[in-house]
């Protein structure tokens, strides 16, 4: 005899998925019908057996791998974000360039170093005259450089250019960052000594060899230098890498290497180099580590574990710093681009150094343009000035001040504009953008104050003192045009 409840109703009954009334009815039926009861028992038994299946247990390196992949995904996303913003900025500027004559709204972008490099290299007003030698970019605590002449240690400050043979030591609880062309970044951790053994840097290639005497270094090497070689040596091992993030730790006659991104080749130190490379070298891929004991071959790589994460995660942060880029073409007429006025892009590091004022400034400037309201314009500028005042030594102030100057000029507050440019010249005399500030000043003197002799004096100064700058050429041209008017000079 066919029962009134089908098997799929019974299946739902077993899973507790029947509505109240039906549940009651089926329960009653089951108390009478042994066939259905048996069916339910079988299904319940199967459920029990399936539930009892052993659970999968994650591997030991699961958490590390998760953190590594997450950090990489976050860095990637930030890189995308800045590119999107920069592209949007270009589109907007091109769109507005035709008929509008107004400052672009500053865009605040937080980003990873790779993206900063793109902005820095192609869109800033900063022309590229940095030395291609490594720089000590950040110092925390006590960091020393060995003076080769008298063999004594000297305290090191930030922004010191390092050279081949430089020996750098960080004391306990101290740290130092070393950077080369925004592409190679190293962080010396506490109680670490390194020697820059070999440096033959060229603009886009070169050989870089670091000897790690003791301690820990984090290394972030970007791709892009074709034919480059980067190597870290210790007594026990040599580590070769490009396009990677890794850490090398030398302690107790052992060298430890962990890799977060890309892969590095690890071989033994000099003493057993007689062996064929193919035999002695191991490749350590992302998420793996190896160890090289004294006078031995590198161990077979094993996965990195969560305990390694804490000391390695910084690798996603080093090299990131605040940059403020002016969005102008990098040629002799860039002063005109600046005074157009230009757009400004701000990339920020983690944790953020650029204060919230910037977002407020962006908001005021946006509204000011929309409502054509001078009070709001001034509020926007005063917010930008607050950022400059907050940390007078910050490098990014140069770009901010140039922007402020251009902004005042746009509002026809020419004296205030000149004051802003003067601040660049006075407070940041070593900046490669001083010539731009001088030139902007000269151009305003010439065009807005009709102060031709003052303008000419400044143009000449640019030609004499900043002969290699794009402004020198511009100044030449202006002087040529101004020459006939020399007699009719007026002073503002």
């Amino acid at each position: 005899m066919k029962c009134k409840y089908s098997e799929d109703i019974l299946s739902r009954y077993v899973d507790g998925a029947l509505p109240g009334r039906l549940l009651k009815a089926v329960s009653e039926h089951l108390s009478k019908c042994s066939r259905c009861r048996l069916e339910v028992e079988k299904m319940a038994k199967l459920n029990d057996m399936l539930e009892a299946l052993p659970e999968a247990v994650e591997s030991e390196h699961f958490d590390f791998e998760f953190n590594r992949k997450l950090a990489a995904a976050i860095a990637e996303k930030e890189k995308e974000n800045i590119l999107v913003n920069v592209l949007r900025g270009i589109a907007e500027t091109v769109e507005q360039a035709g008929d509008l004559f107004m400052p672009r709204v500053p865009v605040l972008v937080r980003s990873a170093i790779a993206a900063i490099f793109i902005v820095g290299a192609f869109l800033t007003g900063q022309y590229y005259n940095e030395t291609d030698m490594p720089l000590l970019t950040a110092v925390k605590g006590e960091v020393f450089i060995l003076n080769k002449e008298d063999n004594t240690w000297h305290a090191a400050d930030e922004n010191i250019t390092l050279e081949e043979g430089s020996v750098i030591r960080s004391a306990g609880l101290s740290e130092a960052n070393i950077e080369l062309s925004s592409k190679y970044h190293m962080r010396l951790k506490s109680d670490t000594t390194i020697k820059l053994a070999r440096l033959s840097p060229k603009r886009r290639s070169g050989k870089f060899s670091v000897e790690l005497e003791k301690g820990d270094i984090l290394v972030d090497i970007e791709r892009g230098f074709k034919g480059s070689r980067f190597q870290v040596r210790t007594e026990e091992a040599r580590v070769r890498a490009l396009g990677t993030k890794f850490m090398v730790a030398q302690k107790n006659k052992k060298t430890w290497i962990g890799v977060l991104k890309g892969s590095v080749k690890v071989g033994p130190g000099q003493k057993i180099l007689k062996l064929a490379k193919a035999v002695s070298d191991v490749t350590v891929n992302a998420g793996m580590k190896t160890e090289v004991p004294h006078k031995e071959l590198p161990a077979r790589p094993t996965p990195l574990l969560m305990k390694d994460w804490e000391q390695m995660k910084e690798l996603y942060m080093i090299g990131e710093k605040t940059r403020v880029a002016l969005f102008i073409s990098n040629d002799k007429t860039r002063v005109l681009g600046l005074l157009s006025p230009c757009a400004i892009y701000i990339t920020d590091e983690k944790p953020r150094k650029i204060p919230a004022q910037l977002e407020e400034a962006a908001y005021y400037i946006y509204r000011a343009i929309k409502e054509n309201n001078n009070i709001l314009h001034m509020k926007g500028i005063s917010k930008l000035e607050e950022i400059v005042k907050k940390d007078r030594t910050a490098d990014y102030n140069v770009q901010l001040l140039l922007y402020i100057g251009a902004y005042y000029n746009f509002l026809e507050l020419h004296s205030k504009a000149i004051a802003a440019f003067n601040e660049v010249i006075r407070d940041h005399p070593d900046s490669p953008l001083v010539s731009l500030a001088l030139c902007a000043k000269a151009y305003i003197r010439e065009k807005s104050f009709n102060d031709f002799s003052g303008a000419k004096r400044l143009y000449r100064k640019i030609i004499e003192e900043y002969a290699d700058s794009p402004e020198a050429q511009f100044a030449h041209e202006r002087l040529g045009l101004l020459a006939p008017e020399e007699t009719g000079t007026t002073h503002a």
Partner: protein, 194 residues
């Protein structure tokens, strides 16, 4: 899964409280790993996809709207990733898993399993039973593996499973009923062969 707790965690994570994600991670790591392990039949693939799922949760949490439960949102991400992975592998094996097992159409549970079937299993060692069950489960079509894992092994209510599997509640019930039937048939076949 505790829905209220989830919502709280999501809220504080969205507000910038990074520690809240650690709790979400700890809470879902194991369940998603186990779900994917049963679906993918490979621990390595399951680990990779679990990491990917949790990364997607982290990156896209701002897109989560509390219309459905948070756990079904997480499961749905895991399921999408597993489907993509199968598509990527595009192996013959995967295709055959999707086809019905011949000879199981129109069967009734009563036809395939006798009441004493389970009693004989008592004689077998627990481990051997598990391994047999796992082999059978692994051999089931993907849609059956999914529904068995979600509803029986992980005890998700039909409603939540329906949200993950993007089908109706009654569809889940029917799929689960069929999955059970096929499972039992395969158990019987294997036993007969022995």
């Amino acid at each position: 899964m505790n829905q209220i707790e989830d919502i709280k965690l999501v809220k504080s994570f969205k507000a910038g409280e990074k520690k809240a994600f650690d709790r979400i991670y700890e809470k879902y790591k194991k369940v998603i790993l186990n779900y994917l392990y049963r679906v993918m039949n490979s621990k390595e693939a399951a680990e990779d996809l679990t990491q990917e799922t949790l990364i997607k949760v982290y990156m896209n949490i701002c897109k989560y709207r509390p219309t459905g439960s948070f756990s079904s949102w997480v499961y749905a991400i895991a399921r999408n990733l597993s489907k993509n992975e199968f598509r990527r592998m595009n192996r013959k094996k995967t295709i055959s898993l999707e086809t019905d097992i011949p000879g199981t159409e129109g069967l009734k549970l009563g036809d395939v399993v006798k009441s004493d079937d389970f009693d004989t299993e008592k004689k077998l060692e627990k481990k051997a039973v598990h391994s047999r069950m796992e082999t059978i489960l692994a051999g089931l079509p993907l849609k059956y593996r999914e529904v068995i894992t979600l509803c029986i092994i992980q005890k998700l209510p039909y409603e939540e499973a329906a949200r993950v599997l993007k089908c109706s509640r009654s569809n889940v019930a029917i799929r689960l009923y069929r999955a059970r039937k096929v499972f039992m048939e395969l158990m019987k076949r294997e036993k007969d062969e022995v």
